[in-house]
């Protein structure tokens, strides 16, 4: 990377900060007025001491109707009257974890399909089709590739035309290849943020290079060396009508959706290439490690702790484990926030994420903590994982976690797009369309002993994989966890 030095007017914030501190400490600030006593002017009342009752959230979801066309493509549909628009999407099972030569190639192929041009109904080659300013969006996920477009309700047919041409007749030619490759490189760069890099390092430490690379695609060389032939081959492997779904959610009728989807998807024939990659799985590393990324002077250390979690194929554990994760780091009243933010005041907050695929489940817990407290905070987080294995959670903690989980189910239908996305996930996970309806009862049935059971089955605090980013002085504070591997921020490619 070229280094540019400019003339003498380079100014540095640390100097300004130091001077400011000096100024503030040395000079007197203007005194502020005093508050008026009594501080509280409002008369008290008995009713203000009464906590209003609120029943657990009620979950009401739009009914899902489905049908299957002769070529295997399914239609999943939910009517939402009064929403004025319709969310149209398509997904095919087979994503970055398993399909094609690499995750990067899957992403490039999906981009070429959505943005690299298509053959229109009159055989013209066009760059893109636009529907009232909307274009097809795409995503290359772990277990599927998906494409979507939003349309006004009366535009369902043209919307599905555009979607179907994108899926079935992408150009995939040399004309746009370089532009698409450049765009994908740019997208990779913007995804190469700290959180993703930390996750990649921790996952690689836990499960090995192959899975780490598949989970967080970041191989620029792979994109640079890809050819149009690679993309065409990947396209053939990626899509399978027998494993595909069209999802329609919005203010249209099932009959309208069915007629339009049948017209544009039911005759689709795709000569599929057999998958070249076998399903991935790897044993969890037996001992803990730390991946430390030195970033230069920083007052905070970003921490991420990685643990095993149930995969999608273990349905019986997923609800309980999800509640466990919420209870640990799902809100300001969760254990991690209570201890690290409210009591110790070393962080602004913590969070969790569940990463799940058919053969894989991971739980990441993250927090940004004061540099000097890096070791203490990490130790506290690890001890919380251990506690969940040995001690049952309290009824009130479980009740809170359940309430959040129920509302989360409810909010999956907050908008057409959100519900369409949730239905897509169910299809990709090979669940039935009525799965969501059954979740509230399953949530309510969970007991504290269920949480302890899944904690004992999955959590491995003695083999925690830690990734951290921060000041080099924070590295030493993590040596108590295990061997430390040091990384520097990647140079620009």
């Amino acid at each position: 990377m070229p280094v540019k030095r400019h003339a003498s007017r380079l100014r540095h914030w640390p100097a300004a900060f130091g001077l400011t501190m000096l100024a503030l400490s040395g000079c007197s600030r203007p005194a502020l007025p005093k508050p008026v006593e009594p501080f509280v002017a409002t008369p008290d009342a008995k009713f203000r001491y009464e906590v209003p009752e609120a029943a657990p959230p009620i979950v009401e979801l739009p009914v899902v109707q489905t049908t299957r066309f002769d070529n295997g493509v399914e239609l999943w549909f939910a009517e939402r009257p009064g929403s004025a628009y319709v969310s149209l999407s398509f997904a095919s099972r087979g994503g970055t974890l398993k399909a094609c030569d690499s995750a990067e190639l899957v992403q490039l192929t999906a981009r070429m399909m959505a943005e690299g041009g298509l053959v229109w109904t009159d055989e013209r080659k066009i760059d893109f089709a636009e529907l009232r300013g909307e274009r097809v969006r795409f995503a290359a996920n772990h277990e599927d590739v998906s494409f979507g477009i939003t349309a006004l309700s009366e535009d369902i047919d043209p919307g599905l035309v555009i979607l179907s041409r994108t899926i079935q007749h992408p150009l995939l030619d040399a004309g746009s290849f370089d532009r698409m490759r450049l765009a994908e490189l740019e997208a990779q760069r913007s995804r190469a943020n700290r959180q993703n890099f930390m996750f990649k390092l921790a996952a690689t430490a836990a499960l090995g290079e192959t899975l780490g690379g598949r989970l967080v695609p970041a191989d620029f060389a792979r994109i640079k060396s890809a050819t149009v032939a690679d993309v065409r081959r990947c396209y053939k492997e990626l899509l399978d009508p027998e494993k595909s779904v069209v999802v329609v959610v919005g203010d249209v009728s099932f009959e309208q959706a069915k007629d339009a989807a049948r017209k544009h998807f039911a005759t689709w024939v795709h000569s599929k290439q057999p998958a070249t990659v076998k399903p991935l799985s790897a044993p969890w590393r037996e001992h803990p490690t730390v991946s430390f990324i030195s970033m230069g002077e920083s007052k905070q250390t970003d921490l991420m702790l990685l643990q095993p979690a149930p995969s999608l194929s273990v349905e019986e554990d997923e609800i309980a484990f999800g509640l466990l994760a919420r209870l640990l780091a799902g809100s300001l009243a969760a254990r991690a926030d209570v201890r690290l933010r409210h009591q110790a005041a070393v962080t602004y907050g913590s969070s969790f994420e569940l990463h799940r695929a058919r053969d894989l489940g991971l739980l990441s817990v993250s927090a940004s903590v004061e540099r000097s407290k890096t070791g203490v905070a990490t130790e506290e987080l690890i001890s919380m994982l251990a506690e969940l294995r040995t001690t049952e959670v309290t009824p009130s903690e479980l009740e809170n976690a359940k309430a959040q989980a129920l509302v989360s189910v409810s909010r999956s239908a907050a908008s057409n797009g959100a519900y369409a996305n949730r239905l897509r996930e169910l299809f990709v996970e090979e669940r039935s369309p009525d799965t969501l309806e059954k979740i509230p009862a399953r949530i309510q049935a969970i007991s504290p002993s269920d949480l302890r059971r899944v904690a004992q089955k999955y959590l491995r605090p003695e083999a925690v994989q830690v990734a951290a980013t921060g000041d080099p002085t924070a590295e030493d504070k993590l040596r108590f966890v295990g061997p430390v591997e040091n990384y520097r921020v990647q140079e620009k490619d």
Binding site: W13, V40, F128, Q300
Partner: protein, 462 residues
């Protein structure tokens, strides 16, 4: 490579060259009728005897009920040398009150699966809660206790705890984007302006005393300085009764409200700011123009339309072109009582001179000032806006936040429908004729530095 013209079907065939103006006419616009207008759904506004303004905007289709309280006190109300006080005060009011012990606020809300947050903005501080409809009473109880009894929770212990939390928050969010924006704010409003806090904010928070915090909260968190907005799924009659019960008796303190005004940017001409930072991957150019405050809804919608169309033009020129030179275009409009800001940011490939990108941006807005939009372009904008508006209407909280800002979705639709090309051109002309802007260049620096460095600047005011 297929040749071909850009034809009326709205599908852009591949061409060897791109025209400056966007000239696709959407096939679907021409073949399908304009979408039907939604029915009116106007919020109801009234005021309690204590001065609390109430806005009720029910919407039965929403899953949740939303309770928002906006206090007309934000960053600009911070006394000199106390820049961090508004943000610290926001944190303190979550720490507990007379009837709600520390941490119980969040526990009560977690129990019902609520979403919640607080924001300290330039001119206001906003607290919001989204709850299942059967928990509306809980949300109103919590917010009324904050308004009336928060000071009972402001103790030395709370103060020390929240000072640390604010500092942690500032450190965690000290992102590149924020650092660049803060430097721009300093260039726009001066080093002692409301937004240019950074190290000042943290230092001032450390020095705040218990008396300072109590005085500030007492002066600002009061019914005659607040607006309560209820949105989403709730029953209007029941809500009115609950509001009267919980908020009706909240008294105002016997001291004056804090008044402040947000002066417009101090720009004298074409200002330039040249920054460097180690985390910058692609060079970035932003151009920020001050705008006069909108005096009508029509003005405001014309300003927003200008931003939308400018963004579109620049994307077509720089990102979607046959040979793209930029990776992204981001356009923001910030509207305040005394002024507005139109900000365009372009990330581009290394090797392009900064000034070339700046020239494209300035030329594009000049084009919009010199030429009216064609009718098809205007129609295209309106249709796209309508679709985006309908999608946004599905976001209950977003809709209520718009209402809090005085934007009524249904009224907005009518105004946008009535916009003319002249309206938009006029807004562009206002900007161009004033001839004041701040251009910021940001480029990658040596990795041994982790701070935003000002490399150079031009200030015509000096």
């Amino acid at each position: 490579m297929a040749g071909g013209k850009i034809d009326w079907t709205g599908l852009r065939a591949r061409t060897a060259a791109r025209a400056l103006a966007v000239c696709t006419a959407s096939f679907f616009l021409l073949r399908f009728p304009e979408p039907a207008q939604a029915g009116p759904h106007h919020p109801v506004t009234y005021e309690l005897a204590n001065g609390l303004r109430v806005v009720l905007a029910p919407r039965a289709e929403d899953l949740d009920a939303y309770v928002l309280v906006k206090y007309d006190a934000g960053q600009i109300h911070a006394p000199a040398d106390y820049k961090g006080l508004p943000h610290l005060a926001e944190h303190l009011t979550y720490h507990g009150s007379r009837h709600i012990k520390p941490l119980e606020y969040v526990k009560h809300l977690d129990r019902v699966g609520a979403g919640y947050n607080g924001m300290t903005l330039m001119e206001s501080t906003v607290y919001f809660i989204s709850v299942p409809p059967n928990a509306l009473k809980l949300a109103l109880w919590l917010e009324s206790d904050r308004m009336a009894f928060a000071l009972d929770g402001v103790t030395e212990q709370a103060l020390e705890a929240e000072k640390k939390t604010v500092e942690n928050e500032w450190e965690e969010r000290n992102s590149l984007h924020r650092m660049i924006w803060r430097r721009k704010e300093a260039a726009l409003y001066g080093e002692n302006g409301p937004g240019a806090s950074d190290p000042h904010e943290v230092a001032s928070v450390k020095a705040v005393t218990l008396s300072d915090a109590r005085w500030y909260i007492q002066s600002t968190h009061r019914p005659d300085n607040a607006t309560l907005v209820l949105g989403g799924n709730f029953q209007v009659d029941e809500a009115r009764k609950l509001i009267e019960r919980y908020f009706g008796s909240v008294a105002n303190p016997r001291l004056p409200k804090l008044e402040a005004s947000f002066p417009p940017p101090k720009l004298c001409g074409a200002h330039k700011l040249h920054l460097g930072h180690v985390y910058i991957d692609d060079p970035l150019v932003t151009v920020t123009w001050p705008m006069r405050p909108a005096i009508s809804e029509r003005d405001k919608r014309a300003q927003l339309a200008l931003a939308f169309i400018l963004d579109d033009y620049l994307r077509n020129l720089l990102v979607s072109a046959e040979r793209p030179v930029a990776t992204s275009v981001d356009t923001d409009v910030l509207l305040y009582e005394t002024h507005g800001l139109l900000d365009v940011g372009i990330s581009f490939h290394a090797g392009m001179p900064f000034v070339s990108v700046e020239k494209v941006v300035l030329k594009t807005i000049a084009t919009l000032a010199e030429n009216k939009l064609s009718e098809p372009e205007l129609r295209r904008y309106k249709t796209r806006w309508r679709l985006q508006s309908d999608i946004a209407a599905g976001d209950g909280l977003g809709r209520v936040l718009e209402i809090l800002d005085g934007n009524e979705p249904d009224r907005a639709k009518a105004v946008v429908n009535g916009l003319t090309s002249e309206d938009i051109q006029r807004e562009a002309q206002k900007i161009v004729s004033v001839n004041k802007q701040l251009t910021t260049f940001a480029e990658p620096l040596d990795r041994s530095r982790v701070i935003v460095s000002e490399i150079d600047s031009e200030d015509p005011c000096r």
